[in-house]
Amino acid sequence: MNRYSRRQVLRFGGVGFAGVVLAACGKQANVPESENVVSVGDTPSKVTLPNVEVDDIVLLRTAASLEYNAIDTYDAAIGLGVFNGAFMPAGEIAKRLRDDHKGHADAINGLITKLGGEPFTCGNPRINEVYISPALALITDEANENPPLDVVVLAHALENLAAQTYQGVVTMLSDKSLRQAAITIGQDEARHAAVLAQALNPGLGGILPSVNPDTGKANVAAVPGAFGPLTPINVTLGAPAADGARASLNLETPSLNSLIYAGVSCS
């Protein structure tokens, strides 16, 4: 009579097989250990990223970088020579808003210097790469029928982005006086956005949110809601493609991959 059932034999057999497999995977005598997964050929050594801190200086340097993004974009827009005829007033507004951004950049860099940080005097490279350069390429495309309008659309989006950034960093800044300084500039940016919204969708109908009955899409509004949003900003720019659709960009406030850390410089 068997002392073990068929089920018990299979169970013990499985445990034994697992032990053999684990032993085979363990350390072996006279075999050098590698920090890499076993592979054939040379493998690069591990590179450890520096430990970075998201402190008040980093947040302010990031804010300064956005100011330069705005200054550069307004300069580029003015340089395009598109603010003629009906868009001439928009050109005057663009110059005024650019000058405001210069003042904001100086103020923010002044705060950075007081805190012992290095001022940041150029545009945020990541924002340039993923938003502004593609947007300007769409605007200046030869097939685009209305570059001046698209310039104002982009400027409006950047002002909203700046207002959202300052509103957002209020929660992150550790120093209360810096929070106040940030939102003082943030409310300026919100005013810029409202003025440009009125340039895009003038009059009473352009103040509060509304929907275009033909497209079903939201119209530009000077006052988008009861509280300042922190949501992505969608802009549609450039010439229509073959299917009639135009390119869309979603602008988001700077995050961990676009902050201006201590080691980042303009050079």
């Binding site: 430990n51 509103q167 929660t171 800044l173 209360k176 409310q187 009473l204």
Partner: protein, 165 residues
């Protein structure tokens, strides 16, 4: 990587400041109700004023929600009385100017609060109110046909909690 601290709740000192902001927002709500009822304005203009009225009510409610039972949830009479007499007659430009001054005063007051509040829950909420009321002010300047400077510059003086009542 080290990140800033998470959102912090209002401190005891914050509660009094947020209560003042709550009462100031109720006053603004009531002032916009007065303006929106004036026959000087067209139905389209009234719709915008009602929209701003609703924004101030939402701000008051949110501030009240943050501090719970400590919220006065009644208007600050000093704020209301300071502007009420200017909201009459048929001079739309003058009424819109008064409302813009109200918005600018609230923006200045809330901005001052952000520099005083300890908890970031309060400063974050107030910041989200500031960016909207700055837009209100700019829009009111444009509606009244004022200059770009009038839309962009805020020269109003912040109210001081306790000094107005």
């Amino acid at each position: 990587m080290s990140l800033p601290a998470a959102t912090t709740p209002p401190s005891t000192a914050d509660v009094a400041l947020l209560a003042f902001a709550n009462a100031a927002e109720w006053a603004a709500r009531d002032l916009f109700a007065v303006a929106a009822a004036l026959p000087a304005f067209s139905s389209e203009e009234q719709a915008v004023l009602v929209g701003f009225h609703d924004h101030h009510r939402a701000a008051a409610q949110a501030l009240g929600g943050l501090i719970g039972a400590d919220a006065p949830n009644v208007r600050e009479d000093a704020v209301y009385n300071a502007f009420r007499s200017r909201l009459s007659g048929s001079d739309k430009g003058a009424i819109l100017d008064a409302l813009r001054e109200l918005e600018n005063t609230l923006v200045a007051t809330h901005t001052s609060l952000v520099g005083t509040l300890d908890g970031t829950a309060g400063s974050s909420l107030v910041a989200s109110i500031i960016t909207i009321q700055a837009r209100h002010a700019a829009s009111l300047a444009l509606l009244a046909g004022r200059s770009l400077d009038d839309a962009l510059v805020n020269e109003a003086i912040a109210l001081t909690p306790g000094a107005t009542s």
